[in-house]
Symmetry: C2
Subunit: 508 residues, 2 copies
């Protein structure tokens, strides 16, 4: 999760005292209103009772669930619904996404479960569904959690507003399990609109701003888009871990509290640790290499990394999830590069094959071309990548490194020329890589290092590491790092370590 | 990993300056020694060349691996070896675990890969294996990384000192890939000995003390016992996540940097966060519940949690890995308790069925009775557990809570009476549980909460949570917590939240 998310989840970034007072007042008001409504409902119920409510017991709020009973009656999920269930009675819990009354005799509900939705309706029916019941349903607030019993029926035409549009539910019973007790800051519908609709000149829709979203993260997370994003994020870690486990990797959890600031001292967070200080780990880099020296052979880690970088870009966060791997290789670091390539392609394949509904859900709000990759991955050397940019008109003198703008440009060139959104650049100049990178065996200005790119953005960076302590010390000194400041790390290689390489993905 | 492990991995807890100087001197000495040895080897080689070394090129150190070549020749792992490969030539990398010369014509090596080992031997053979080669092999230091080519042969009798004891390797080529450059603080063999051998009166073995192990963690991690422990730890997170994913859970990563000290302010670490402060998360408790309010339905998290508790027990660590889960239930929190029960049993089953070699490896150093559990898990209420202890002679007056000693006693009583090491206690008194625990529907002094036990130790604690904000506020106030200090958390329930329950395992 991003920092903004982190803040939203935490308690301190709550509102100011005056805001709290305001809210308390509002809550008081809401409470009084609720009491008044409850009283009215009671009176209405009494009146209705006199009129004999044929739906009595079929609707209304449920008492607080303290786990008093367990009938075990089956409850379904919306995705399981299909037209061949026509006439079947089903029971399920859902959110009221939106509701719409048609006159006083019919109410349409759009009911939501995570990324899925279905249409339900309640209709005044003699001897079965009372006017009172339909009115009560019409009064349900958006985002109420309801328990619905109804029969599956086929709509006259596909329901476009629902993800499961080939069936609808004719409600026979409906009860309220929980309702919002405060006014919603924005509607899920508004929060789910694509930019294209909002950018139209004559648009009647309100744009929900990022700050508002983050200040009300619980509501924002309920959009079908965000539900899909989190399902996809969960799928990525699953596919990453599954592939690596099948290749003999062991999952590790390296310590986040460390005794010293490592790698690059400037951007590390300091923690008060009893009478001393500790520091938050900036990456599992050193530990995963030390695990190789400790004979783990192949390791991966999924865990938080911390960077005290006070920047505001979509590529700089103070806390994010790192997907890291490191492995001993037998002969050549390309064994590792190839394994990482296979791992990424298995993620692409797994997402495309098993999460098409989630990808489509995100695409509704954020349209994107389908992601393209080739069976045989395109591999360029850094020099070849530079040549492509020069051919395209970039001055060679500016290309000691490939900056973000040129990365994007390279992505476009390669998409046009090779019809792929995914490629590898190998053999970066030694000057661009960290001290622990193994130099190329032929040209000491180059290194055994690689970056993986998606749509013109680096998504994974890695290299062969130096496993020989004397060469490591030499390279540390060249980069102005005191080997004594990383004694345990250097000592690990003094104990004998096999050649190894690895890489890391930064996931928000 | 434990704090001690964390420190071992980190750089700061390295040695003092004088120690550093001493080491530098030692390193210098070692270097000179290495140079002298190299020179001698060179001279010897020259002499040997005159003698015509029939093994020339078949042994010796390899140059630093900078990924110059990639033959793709297959390398095997020790576990794959079997007697029906008799006569086959195989190639593999391994550590020299131990070596033993038999006269000047034969050297036995015990070669190790993680949890496995095999015997190899090199024998002076006319026209094939020279005296010089055998001598060189005999001089290899323990923990050297070697590349071995040899033929599979059947030993006269099972090799007891190797885990793969029904074959041995007759070496034809052997090269050195990396060697320890400092003297080892202890041998892997010594570090792997069971207590029972060390406790013998006439023992000739040295006990490797915990401090020594932790000061030299890289070596200590190489024991077959520790390799197995980490494989098992990795298997546990895999089995935990796989089971939950198959039950529709989404993996989340809640923020570790938080804006406020939550849950229990006393034991939280403070982090310098630019111009302000942040705090390290003590558990994902609040966030995972907020995810339920955000409609995630079922979530789990595997990640570090931080406790600023300055205690030294095996149940108090400042950083450990939490395995957390939370789920909305339909009718009764026992749905969740049953799911957790199923999850734990799937872990027991997965470990027993697929990791018997690793369990056996740990058992060699730390013998233990096989873990017993029943198809139908034993479930007791807190009251029933107390009654069992009273029957066994514990005074009822002391049993407001069940302390660690009585937990162990209860474990023994239940093992004797029900033949199981695994059971659940349900319905703890409300007074023993946190503010967010849902009270029992009949008896407000009890709660909808449970603990899971293995061998008389609580391994997972959980409960139904309060999903109704007004009741939550009431319970916060009863426990002296200011609801305003946890505004975002309380607000999540004001937005409507389904009934839910969950639990957490603390893994070292």
């Amino acid at each position: 999760m991003s920092e903004a998310q982190a803040n939203q989840f935490s308690e301190e970034t709550g509102p100011s005292k005056s805001e709290l007072k305001k809210r308390a007042k509002e809550a008081e008001k809401e409470k009084k209103k609720a009491e008044r409504l409850a009283k009215e409902a009671e009176e209405q119920k009494a009146r209705a009772a006199n009129e004999v409510d044929v739906s009595s017991g079929k609707y209304g709020p449920l008492p607080l669930n303290q786990s008093k009973e367990r009938s075990g009656r089956k409850r379904i999920s919306i995705t399981s619904l299909s037209p061949n269930q026509e006439g079947e009675t089903v029971l399920f819990r859902a959110r009221v996404n939106t509701s719409r009354a048609q006159g006083s005799k019919m109410v349409f509900l759009n009911l939501r479960q995570r990324t899925e939705s279905v249409q339900a309706l309640v209709v005044v029916t003699p001897e079965k569904i009372s006017k009172q019941m339909v009115k009560w349903v019409g009064g349900l607030a958006d985002e109420s959690i309801i328990l619905v019993e109804g029969s599956v029926q086929l709509p006259k035409e596909e329901v476009k507003s629902a993800t499961v549009g080939n069936v609808e539910i004719l409600i026979s019973q409906i009860h309220l399990e929980a309702a919002p007790q405060i006014r919603l800051p924005f509607s899920i519908e508004d929060a789910s609109r694509p930019e294209s609709e909002l950018d139209k000149e004559d648009t009647q829709f309100t744009r929900v701003l990022l700050d508002t979203r983050l200040d009300n993260r619980i509501i924002d997370l309920r959009t079908q888009t965000n539900q899909a994003v989190f399902k996809l994020q969960s799928a990525v870690t699953d596919l990453f871990a599954s592939f690596l486990r099948s290749e003999g990797f062991t999952e590790i959890h390296s310590p986040k509290l460390q005794g010293a600031a490592t790698e690059s001292g400037a951007s590390v967070f300091k923690v008060g640790y009893f009478k001393g200080d500790a520091f938050l780990a900036q990456s599992p880099q050193l530990h995963k290499q030390m695990c190789i020296a400790a004979d783990f052979e192949r390791v991966f880690e999924i865990g938080p990394v911390f960077r005290a970088e006070d920047s505001n870009t979509h590529r700089h966060l103070t806390e994010f999830i790192g997907l890291d791997l490191e492995m001993a290789f037998q002969e050549h670091y390309h064994e590792v590069m190839d394994l990482i390539d296979g791992m990424l392609k298995s993620i692409f394949k797994g997402l495309t094959e098993n999460y098409s509904r989630e990808i489509a859900a995100v695409g509704k709000q954020f349209p994107a071309d389908p992601f393209k990759w080739r069976e045989e991955t395109l591999k360029l050397t850094f020099k070849e990548a530079v040549d492509l940019l020069v051919e395209d008109g970039v001055e060679r003198e500016t290309l000691d490194d490939i900056n973000t703008t040129n990365e994007k440009r390279l992505g476009r060139i390669i998409r046009d020329k090779y019809d792929t959104d995914y490629f590898i650049i190998d053999k970066f100049p030694m000057a661009l890589r960290p001290f622990y990178t193994m130099p190329d065996p032929e040209d000491p200005t180059l290194s055994n290092s690689y970056d993986f790119f998606m749509r013109g953005e680096e998504i994974l960076s890695g290299a062969q590491r130096i496993h020989e302590p004397n060469l490591l010390i030499e390279k540390m000194q060249e980069k102005g790092i005191d080997p004594a400041s990383m004694q345990a790390y250097v000592d690990a290689f003094r104990l004998g370590c096999p050649p190894h390489a690895g890489g890391g993905i930064d996931m928000c």
